[in-house]
């Protein structure tokens, strides 16, 4: 055989994936120590990111709200109640139509700016129980959520922001809905995870809660959880939801006093 045809061998560089391994190693160390390691943004495990919320960014909508939790930025517009689309089946009660979409620049890797069907369905489920659908028969309320920047805990923030927008639109509701998620890392539970933390989590839990009525409208549990931790995590979420709801109420009261 000629020299040109000899099969050349190749080997990957020894440093491939080193960064990833290092991070995983570091995380494993922390988990083994079971210590309160500092999070990337300097929070402790049970600290939420500062919540900035505001009503009325979209003037064309019946109601709207903007939320910024750390890097996560969400804008929600509510339209209606307006006439349901002709193709829809007849219904005596009102309808809630939810749509969650991402901008092309929401994620570090430039995306398509597509609708997120899964989040849309989950947002609908979370809000459905809180809205008095019988007060606007045969009509539809449209909730459009746009994620400007995705920085972790997107869905809980969308849900909280949407409930603020619904209240701003004057849609009758049983209560405001707020939502908080936690991530599970081994023995530890960290609240309001960023996208990095979400990427490394063992399991996650999201709770959508109506604080005044003490009712959970949605609960999503994924991944690996050890016994006894779930109850703790749910309680943690519910308490955080109540506190977030106080912020929402404050914003609504501010907006209402500004209007006068």
């Amino acid at each position: 055989m000629s020299a040109a045809a000899t099969a050349g061998t190749y080997s990957p560089a020894s440093s491939a994936g080193e960064k990833r391994r290092e991070r995983k190693e570091e995380l494993r160390r922390h988990l083994a120590e079971d210590a309160d390691w500092p999070r990337a943004d300097g929070r402790s495990f049970h600290d939420c990111r500062p919540a900035f919320m505001q009503t009325g960014p979209t003037t064309a909508a019946s109601g709207s709200a903007y939320a910024e939790f750390g890097k996560t930025k969400v804008i929600v517009s509510v339209f209606g109640p307006r006439e349901s689309k002709k193709a829809m089946l007849y219904s005596d009660t009102g309808r809630l139509n939810c749509n969650v979409s991402y901008t092309t620049f929401a994620t570090p890797i430039r995306g398509q700016g597509t609708d997120n069907k899964e989040y849309s369905a989950m947002l609908h489920k979370a809000l459905e129980g809180a809205v008095m659908l019988h007060t606007f028969p045969k009509t539809t309320v449209d909730v459009f959520a746009l994620v400007l920047e995705s920085g972790g805990s997107d869905l809980p923030i969308i849900i909280s922001c949407a409930s603020l927008a619904l209240a701003d639109a004057g849609i009758m509701m049983y209560d405001l809905v707020t939502s908080v998620s936690v991530s599970c890392f081994g023995k530890n539970i960290i609240i309001d995870p960023t996208s990095d933390e979400e990427a490394w989590q063992d399991g996650s839990l999201m709770v959508a809660y109506m604080p005044a009525r003490k009712e959970i409208t949605q609960l999503t549990l994924t991944g690996e959880w050890s016994d006894g931790k779930i109850t703790n995590a749910v309680e943690l979420c519910m308490d955080a939801c109540s506190k977030l709801c106080d912020i929402l109420r404050e914003r609504l009261k501010d907006a209402s006093s500004l209007a006068e």
Partner: protein, 204 residues
């Protein structure tokens, strides 16, 4: 969030879900009863309304008013003002403009079917002799089907309240089926609402 009694417009601002009081109060506008307590369902000012004199129930009503509520929504049984957009052989379509005394913000389509135009001789109705595009009609609303709300004008007080003739003059009602043009004196056929004069719109 304690229920401090305030019975004027400047009452404290409440938000959906907030406690307004216990079952010693009745839930009014923007409030709902939840088991043994009354809660707000919209953002606004809390207001107490004393019971009407002579009523058997001596409880006050608590309501939430003042802040923006969503636009009026057609409710079954409400009297609406609609503008006729299209007249066909068996029905006419109309855009709803007012529900009771409130203007609607969004577009709602209503449909007046041939059998709903008047109360008698409903099979002899000629749609073109009853409505013309552009007429302002007072009608009773029902939810209808998936496509449109059904509007009925089968009552004396319901029907055309304001219309223009072909020449563009205002039509003046002369009987419950006829209207006359102010400019030319020409008579046109309409299903006229009783007392169809300007200024009647806010009577209800």
């Amino acid at each position: 969030m304690a229920a401090t009694a305030m019975d004027h417009d400047g009452g404290e601002v409440v938000t959906p879900g907030e406690l307004l009081g216990n079952s010693s109060l009745l839930a009014g506008l923007g409030a709902y009863a939840d088991g043994r307590c009354v809660r707000a369902s919209i953002t606004g000012h809390r207001r107490l309304v004393p019971p009407p004199p002579g009523s058997t129930d001596q409880r006050s009503t608590v309501e939430v008013v003042g802040h923006k509520a969503h636009g009026a929504v057609p409710q079954p049984g409400s009297v609406v003002i609609a503008r006729v957009t299209k007249v066909m052989a068996r029905m006419a379509s109309a855009d709803i403009m007012c529900v009771d005394s409130k203007a609607v913000k969004e577009k709602f389509t209503g449909m007046i079917r041939q059998q709903d135009v008047r109360a008698t001789e409903i099979d002899k109705v000629d749609m073109f002799q009853s409505y013309r595009p552009g007429d302002i009609v007072r009608a009773l609303l029902s939810l209808g089907d998936a496509r449109a709300y059904y509007l009925s004008t089968a009552q004396n007080e319901l029907g055309v309240v304001s219309a223009q003739s072909i020449t563009g003059g205002t039509l003046v009602p002369i009987s419950w089926t006829e209207m006359q043009c102010e400019l030319t004196g020409q008579i046109e056929q309409r299903k006229v609402a009783k007392e169809a004069t300007i200024g009647i719109l806010d009577k209800r």
